[in-house]
């Protein structure tokens, strides 16, 4: 049973435009959410996180939005850059730091 889902396996955007990556979850006990970026043959790199008591967190070009009632979060990247091309994983935790990952979205930013 996949508790964290990323329904878009891939996304392609033009450089300078906005990238929006989506994530849905089923477990209402999740209280912390994170986004990781991963290049091939490398470990995931932390990007941004959000606590369940907030609905938005912003860090430079990256903003995460959380809609608890819909059990949905999204990552916005503005403006998108070619170096942002990678696999993006959404992850969630419920009171511990055991992370449950989504299946990932491959983002391709076209120059």
């Amino acid at each position: 049973d996949q508790q964290v889902k990323q329904n878009s396996p891939s996304l392609s955007v033009q450089e300078g435009r906005i990238s929006i990556l989506n994530c849905d979850y089923t477990n209402s006990m999740f209280d912390y959410f994170l986004w990781y970026k991963k290049y091939p043959a490398e470990g995931p790199t932390f990007l941004i996180s959000i606590s369940s008591i907030k609905d938005k967190n912003e860090d430079g070009r990256f903003t995460v939005f959380l809609n608890k009632s819909a059990k949905h979060l999204s990552l916005h990247i503005v403006p998108s850059q070619p170096g942002d091309s990678a696999v993006y994983f959404c992850a969630a935790s419920a009171g511990t730091n055991k992370l449950i990952f989504g299946t990932g979205t491959l983002l391709a930013v076209q120059p």
Binding site: A41, G43, F89, S93, T96, N97, L99
Partner: protein
């Protein structure tokens, strides 16, 4: 400031063999978690070590075991290797139960 380091980077084994993977956490971190990422899949939690004890465990068989040393480094052992154990094994470290995990580059294990 060294990040999370893992060794070896690549490993080839045959079915039935045993393997040991090693991890040194980021400086200042005392908790180590291990994840398995099969090709095209998301990372799956194996277990976590803190104060030299296994604190949490995911849905992995007893063939997967670990150890944490007094210097916080950790080992992952897999016995009786199966073809399905082929994956990227990721080590992550944190300070106590801090949710923000720092990952190493992983060990790519191939079982033939």
């Amino acid at each position: 400031d060294a990040g999370v380091t893992q060794s070896p980077t690549h490993l080839i084994k045959t079915r039935g063999q045993q393997v040991t993977l090693r991890c040194s956490p980021k400086s200042g971190h005392d908790t180590v978690s291990w994840y398995q990422q099969a090709l095209g899949q998301e990372p799956q939690f194996i277990f976590q070590y803190y104060e030299e004890e296994e604190r949490q465990r995911g849905n992995f068989p007893d063939r997967f075991s670990g150890h944490q040393f007094p210097n916080y480094s950790s080992e992952l052992n897999v016995n009786a290797l199966l073809l399905g154990d082929s994956a990227l094994y990721l080590c992550a470290s944190s300070w106590r139960q801090d949710v923000k995990l720092f990952f190493g580059s992983g060990t790519q294990l191939s079982v033939l």
